[in-house]
């Protein structure tokens, strides 16, 4: 039997095995190091950075919905939010098993001097946790002189850098070293919610548009420049640009045109094609909805008289009032003739709530700014509407939407006559017969004009009227 063993051979195998393991381990660790770095950046840091913005925008949307409630549901606006001075602060909302959180503040930073409408500033911050250890760094590997991710994605590994550098509210007050519970990214945005005034187009209807007749047209002017005259076909006219804003906006696909529109046309899914009858931009992909209109709750108590307009009734306000505190009247019936005079020679503000149909006539003196809120329908001749100033913004009709959304109001204007007024009635079918010459704007459910109406939108209307909704007018990210 041979039992001879070579000890040298045994030793070589061990050394070779160890060397192989060492080489493989070095290669493996190098690969793992690269993979971990890339994984941390791509899968964790980039993802969290984007998620933080999503959270901040979600917080902005939450605050925006509260701002809109100031119009649609004022009694519940900012319900549950804390108030300190003029700033409303919402509670922190956590999402996705606390991996995301958002909080926002809202303050009324500006009031329109003409309408009194409030503008709101929304500040929202979103925070996303970053998976991984605190000691995980950022990947700044680039060529010499270049900056990597750390300049873009500011990750708080140990402390909240924003509070430490700029203070809790970013105003250099209250700088503090605040530890964070784990690596996180916070992004901050600031939104400005601007009031939408009722009359931003000549005609805005949520479902269908028909008209005007082939000899009719829709154009515009600006009453701040003087009375209306036709300038939409004369590029040399100094008011040419003001003359081509007779826009029509339809929230559905139904659009039928006979005459000419000197302005833009937009539909939601319509098939409007360029033609000589449309002297503006066409966009068939503009969806919108017009929310129901509710009676404002911020009006003062009604005056004792009158309580109805039956026969001839004259209103002589004792005080001029203001856009936010007008002389307010509550009428149960409107079948007669109503004349509204100024309080002396002052610009006089009047608001009337008619709880029934309007089938009478109205005459407002120059210098009177009247808002007529109606619960029922309107059936008038164009000549029954007398606005002595000729400024459409001085006579505004508002249709209060029925509680039952299946109920449609009706506004019917018959010949003869012309008028200057505005109608905001999102739940109403607007019918106009004959060939009236109209100065103003209308917001309705459907628009039907079967005659050769000439409709002149007053661009000064764009900044008049109570807020009917809010839109986000500005978006800024605080990149500090």
């Amino acid at each position: 039997m041979k039992t001879g063993q070579s000890e040298h051979e045994t030793g070589n195998v061990l050394i070779c095995a160890l060397c192989t393991i060492l080489v493989v381990s070095i290669i493996g660790s190098a690969v793992l190091l690269n993979c971990t770095t890339r994984y941390n950046v791509v899968a964790n840091q980039v993802q969290s950075w984007k998620a933080a913005l999503t959270a901040a925008e979600a917080g902005g949307d939450i605050a925006y919905s509260e701002v809109r409630k100031t119009v649609f549901d004022p009694t519940h606006a900012f319900s549950g939010w804390s108030v300190l001075g003029a700033v409303h602060t919402g509670s922190v909302v956590s999402l996705v098993n606390n991996a995301l959180s958002t909080s926002s503040t809202v303050d009324n930073f500006y009031n329109d001097p003409t309408t009194g409408n409030a503008w709101y500033r929304i500040r929202s911050k979103g925070t996303a946790t970053v998976p991984g250890l605190r000691r995980t760094g950022m990947d700044d590997r680039m060529l010499t002189g270049a900056r990597g991710d750390s300049l873009l994605r500011k990750i708080d590994f140990q402390y909240d850098h924003f509070v430490a550098t700029y203070g809790l509210n970013g105003d250099n007050i209250g700088l503090a070293l605040v530890p964070v519970s784990g690596p996180q990214i916070t992004r901050r945005i600031e939104l400005i919610a601007a009031p939408i005034t009722p009359f931003e187009a000549a005609v805005k209807c949520s479902t269908a548009f028909y008209g005007p007749g082939s000899a009719g047209w829709t154009d515009s002017y600006n009453s701040k420049n003087g009375p209306y005259y036709f300038a939409a076909n004369n590029p040399a006219d100094p008011h040419y640009n003001d003359a081509r804003s007779g826009s029509v906006e339809v929230g559905g696909p139904n659009f039928t045109l006979g005459g000419t529109i000197y302005g833009n046309v937009s539909t939601n899914g319509g098939n409007v094609t360029p033609s000589s009858n449309i002297q503006g931009v066409i966009d068939n992909n503009v969806p919108f909805t017009i929310p129901p209109y509710v009676m404002p709750t911020n009006l003062p108590l009604p005056q004792p008289l009158p309580v109805a307009v039956i026969g001839d009734v004259t209103v002589n306000p004792l005080v001029a009032g203001s856009p936010t505190t007008p002389n307010f009247y509550l009428l149960s019936s409107f079948t007669g003739h109503l004349k509204i005079n100024q309080a002396g020679s002052a610009q006089t503000y009047v608001a009337i709530h008619v709880t029934s149909d309007i089938i009478g006539s109205i005459d407002i003196a120059p210098g009177v700014h009247a808002q007529i809120f109606f619960d029922g329908n309107i059936s008038l001749k164009a000549g029954d509407i007398t606005n002595e100033s000729g400024l459409a913004g001085n006579l505004q009709f508002y249709g209060i939407s029925p509680l039952d959304p299946s109920v449609t109001q009706s506004i019917s204007i018959d010949p003869p006559g012309n008028f200057a007024a505005t109608f905001y009635a999102p739940s109403a079918d607007y019918h106009m017969n004959g060939n009236p010459d109209v100065t103003g704007a209308v917001v309705c459910k459907t628009f039907y004009g079967n005659g050769n109406t000439t409709w002149h939108y007053d661009r000064a209307l764009a900044t008049l009227g109570d807020a009917v909704d809010y839109r986000i007018a500005s978006y800024v990210e605080d990149t500090r």
């Binding site: 039997m1 041979k2 039992t3 001879g4 290669i27 190098a30 690969v31 690269n34 890339r38 950046v41 791509v42 980039v46 950075w49 984007k50 930073f109 500006y110 329109d112 503008w119 500033r121 990947d139 590997r141 680039m142 060529l143 002189g145 270049a146 900056r147 990597g148 991710d149 300049l151 873009l152 994605r153 700029y166 970013g170 105003d171 250099n172 600031e190 400005i192 601007a194 931003e200 640009n241 833009n264 937009s266 931009v281 966009d283 503009v286 969806p287 919108f288 764009a462 900044t463 839109r471 986000i472 007018a473 500005s474 978006y475 800024v476 990210e477 605080d478 990149t479 500090r480």
Partner: protein, 208 residues
Amino acid sequence: MKLSNRRNTHGFTLAELALAIGIGSLVLGAILSSSIALLKALNAVDNYFGTQMQQIRIIDYLNRDVKRGLSVITSADLQSVTITIPNYIIQAGDPEAIANPSLVGTSRTPTISNTPSGPQVNYGSSTTTVVYSISGSSILRTENGAVTTIASSTDQLVPQTTDVELSNTEYTNTSISFLPIFTSGNLPAERTGTTLFSTAYLRNKRRG
């Protein structure tokens, strides 16, 4: 019993030695070439993902600025983008900072002005201009004249941005491609296969 403890005292023959050296050289060559290939592959993959991260960084920088932008203009060759953004932060030298130096670095309260196209939100009397451009193998971001290299690669990163302006909204389409260092013949598909696409809307020009 005789225990065998005989040591092999014979040497290798020349043929055996030559054969052993030959086989050893082959094995060593295989190991060396494999190692080099492995290192090149590791380098190529590392470079690929490193460049891809730079693609993501460029897109993230650009989208952040486009989202908060007031206007975007792209050059004819689509490789330079100029973005105007609100002056949200008070900088040294701004009128507010001159009046009160402690305001430097803080945010502005916006003001509202009426323009022919309607009310407008303003952050200060001026705006900030950000320009994205290519310089050699680097992608530069220049904010009010201050240049930052946000990406740099020898792999010919090529960003292209298209600005699409509709009646009442605006967005940008961006694509960024690069040529991996592990190529076989510089085929066009090797570059297009790395393309990263992105679309960002200007939040300050939205519908509705």
